[in-house]
């Protein structure tokens, strides 16, 4: 290779990154939430152009009201595309909103999301973290029924909860059941509602060095909530094209026709243009927020010197208390001994006195005897 001297090779670095990512492949986790029958399964199978998820077994419908819980179903698939490997995880939530009373039906979903963050956190702390199992949700699609009205209270509650934890992407399913004009009005009402309730939704980064990209990103961002048509069926249009779509007597609703729905924009957002952005937002914002919150709750702070000071003070305090306790014990014991010693002294004095008395008696006797031995001397003082 004989490149000019002044070319260093720094300009190759993005290509090196490209190569590394191509080699490593990617993990991508997508979650779908919405009432049953909203078209979640159909959408997933349409998006990934494969039967990722079996359709619901209608036999199970009788058990439903009894179970009264939202199930969380995980599908893991490996997809290879042009030599690029993706470990895809799809999280479906059948049973959501199926009950008469659906208050708190979102709790298991939210718990699941948090649990994935916690699991990652625990694994990340380990000494060996070579095989981390990562199921952090990168994108959460919330399916809004094409009622044409506005968001239902349940939608608002759930979206609020989801939006504070993951990249939330609102989707209007079955866009073929709503006319263009109605759809525009519906979308606007939904956007107003999202704004009014401060619901956090994923906004793709728009600014780019290249004008075309910026324009495309703007179009994607403005299409939210994404109205989609789901279908795995290949149908033939009146003008003879084979497309994925829904065949009606009055025409064909095409999945990949931008005039008919926002499927392509949503696919761009999810995969073709903003998948990396979804992944990094999840890792750098949602996960970091979760982790920081959790650690703070555990009592952690980065303000180490402060904690250290308190900690050291507490340790010293405990040691001092122990010493003090012993000093007191020693003191009481000492005073007991002192009393005992005093008693001994008293006893000694008593005994001394006793002996002295005896001694005096002896001395007196001796004197008497002396006197008896020398009667002259002895008798005179007596008489």
């Amino acid at each position: 290779m004989s490149s000019p001297n002044n070319f260093i090779g720094i300009a190759n670095l993005p290509n090196q990154r490209h190569k590394i990512v191509s080699r490593k492949g990617a993990h991508f986790t997508i979650m779908v939430v919405g009432e049953s029958g909203a078209g979640k399964t159909t959408f997933i199978n349409t998006l990934f152009a494969a039967l990722m998820r079996e359709y619901q077994n209608e036999e199970k419908r009788f058990q439903k009201q009894l179970e009264r819980t939202v199930e969380i179903e995980i599908i893991r698939a490996e997809i290879e595309e042009k030599g690029f490997n993706v470990q895809l995880t799809i999280i479906d939530t059948p049973g959501f909103g199926d009950y008469v009373n659906n208050s708190d039906c979102w709790v298991p979903i939210v718990e699941f999301i948090d649990e994935q963050h916690l699991n990652y956190m625990k694994q990340e702390r380990k000494a060996n973290r070579r095989n981390i199992d990562d199921m952090r949700v990168h994108a959460c699609l919330y399916f809004i029924q094409p009622t044409g009205h506005t968001l239902k209270p349940l939608d608002i509650e759930v979206m609020k909860q989801l939006g504070s934890r993951v990249n939330l992407i609102p989707v209007i399913s079955k866009a073929d059941t709503i006319t263009r004009a109605d759809l525009t009005a519906f979308k606007n009402r939904i956007l107003d509602c999202i704004k009014f309730h401060n619901i956090n939704v994923f906004c793709p980064p728009i600014q780019s060095d290249d004008e075309d990209t910026t324009r495309r990103n703007t179009a994607i961002a403005n299409a939210m909530p994404y109205a989609v048509i789901g279908s795995e069926q290949d149908v033939v249009t009146p003008d003879g094209r084979r497309v994925k779509g829904r065949q009606y007597l009055w025409g064909v609703a095409e999945v990949e026709n931008e005039e008919h729905c926002d499927f392509k924009k949503l696919r761009n957002l999810l995969i073709r243009t903003h998948m990396d952005s979804l992944i990094s937002t999840t890792e750098e914002v949602h996960y970091e927020d979760y982790r920081a919150n959790r650690l703070t709750k555990e009592g952690r702070t980065d303000d180490d010197p402060q904690v250290r000071k308190l900690f050291d003070a507490k340790m010293k305090e405990e040691e001092d208390a122990l010493r003090k306790r012993f000093t007191e014990q020693v003191r009481t014991e000492e005073s007991k001994f002192r009393k005992w010693e005093q008693e001994l002294i008293d006893e000694r004095d008593r005994l001394n006195k006793d002996l002295e008395a005896e001694h005096s008696a002896v001395q007196a006797l001796k004197a008497e005897i002396e006197a008896l031995k020398s009667p002259v001397q002895a008798r005179s003082p007596r008489k």
Binding site: N5, G9, A49, Q87, E288, D304, F326, K366
Partner: protein
């Protein structure tokens, strides 16, 4: 907190989409983002002074990372190994690179260089520690990576083989940093000498089980890449020539060193391995070096450190966990202290008790003894007295004790 992470085992099914979904675009997305974010690399240079380290860095990055030596002529040789970091911001075709070069002046320059590797290993590990500390923070949005991603080790062009210092250094550092040995100032050796020298160096390296950085081989590499990497490996250790000044050669400006017998052109692959070194270090493997540092060298260092500190199951470096640990140690210490104090205390109490009981017993025993003596004496005296009174001859009376107190 439980250390085990339980994840349900979910079977992975292979799926083949029946049309292009677009996943294969992800590398392009990352490519685009990386341009926006820019790059960062930390390179360390080690070798005796005067081997051309600064010159080679300038030549590699075609920039005056190190200002011209002329001004710094009167520099005093350092007494200890210093660690000097210079940061340079480079840009090429809109791609930004923040380059940190760490020089270690003093290495190998002393009479005794036995521990020359030490401050350098410490520097590398300190940088790992710094990263680990940041990783464990609650808020880590501003994490900076100052880990050493590669170390160029300059071998003096002796033409013999590796010196003990070279071997010692490489053995001590190869598990902590991507080692790239280079033969400095290879223009001092003939082509033949270089070949022999390289062969002996590689023998020394493999004999001493030193791990030097080699371009990794991946199964999906295309034949062109494989060939390129093979050629790179064949040239190791790179025999380099540094020169940051251009000279005129055949009406063309070249970076080279002019001798009466000719000009050595740095950028000529027939003259030296500079091109191959730059190829690997910058053009094809700079990001790979970072990956390997992050995923293998750093991870190994981190897990060894955590295991050694009994922190295998996480909470590693968590200050609170550290406190927990210290607290446990402290409690153990307190328990021990308490037990010891108690033992000493009880022992002392017992001793004192025994002593007092002994005194008490002694006191009474002695009292009894004396009392008995006195009583006996008295009885004898009374007897004598009686006899005397009744006219009988008395016996010799006993001498009585003097003094007031009988016990002290």
């Amino acid at each position: 907190m439980s250390a085990e992470v339980e994840q349900p085992q979910i079977p992975i099914v292979k799926k083949k989409p029946n049309c292009f979904v677009g996943f294969a675009n992800l590398p392009n997305q990352v490519h685009r983002k990386s341009i926006k974010k820019g790059f960062q690399f930390t390179l360390m240079v080690v070798g005796e002074s005067g081997l051309g380290k600064s010159t080679l860095i300038n030549t590699l990055f075609n920039t005056s990372v190190y200002p011209n030596k002329e001004h710094l002529e009167a520099e005093e040789p350092p007494k200890t190994i210093k660690i000097e970091t210079i940061t340079t911001n480079l840009e090429e075709n809109g791609i930004k690179l923040k380059l940190n070069v760490i020089d270690t002046p003093g290495f190998g320059d002393f009479v005794n260089n036995e521990t020359s590797w030490k401050p350098i290993l410490e520097e590398i590990e300190t940088r790992f520690d710094l990263y680990l500390e940041q990783e464990n923070k609650v808020n880590r949005k501003k994490i900076v990576d100052e880990r050493v991603h590669a170390c160029l080790y300059f071998i003096a062009p002796t033409g013999h083989s590796l010196k003990p210092l070279d071997i010692e250094f490489m053995k001590r550092l190869h598990h902590r940093v991507n080692l790239i040995p280079v033969i400095a100032k290879s223009d001092l050796l003939t082509e033949e000498e270089v070949a022999g020298f390289k062969a002996r160096i590689m023998e020394d390296i493999s004999y001493n089980k030193i791990q030097i950085y080699r371009p990794p081989i991946y199964e999906n590499d295309d034949p062109e890449t494989l060939q390129e990497n093979k050629e790179i490996v064949l040239r190791m250790p790179f025999a380099v020539v540094g020169c940051d000044k251009e000279i005129e050669m055949k009406k063309k400006k070249v970076r080279g060193r002019q001798y009466p017998w000719g000009i050595i052109d740095v950028d000529n692959e027939d003259h030296c391995d500079f091109i191959k070194l730059r190829q690997m270090l910058i053009r094809t493997h700079m990001e790979e070096l970072r990956e390997y540092t992050n995923e293998v060298l750093y991870e190994n260092y981190r897990s060894n450190k955590l295991i050694a500190s009994g922190n295998e199951f996480g909470d590693g470096g968590n200050p609170l966990a550290r406190f927990e640990e210290e607290k446990r140690a402290h409690e153990a210490k307190m328990t021990k202290m308490e037990a010891e104090m108690k033992m000493v205390f009880q022992q002392k109490v017992q001793e004192k008790k025994n002593k007092l009981m002994q005194s008490d017993a002694d006191l009474h025993a002695r009292h009894k003894e004396m009392k008995e003596k006195l009583v006996n004496q008295r009885r004898e005296l009374e007897e004598t007295k009686r006899q005397l009174e009744s006219g009988a001859r008395p016996g010799t009376p006993e001498k009585s004790r003097k003094g007031k107190g009988y016990f002290k």
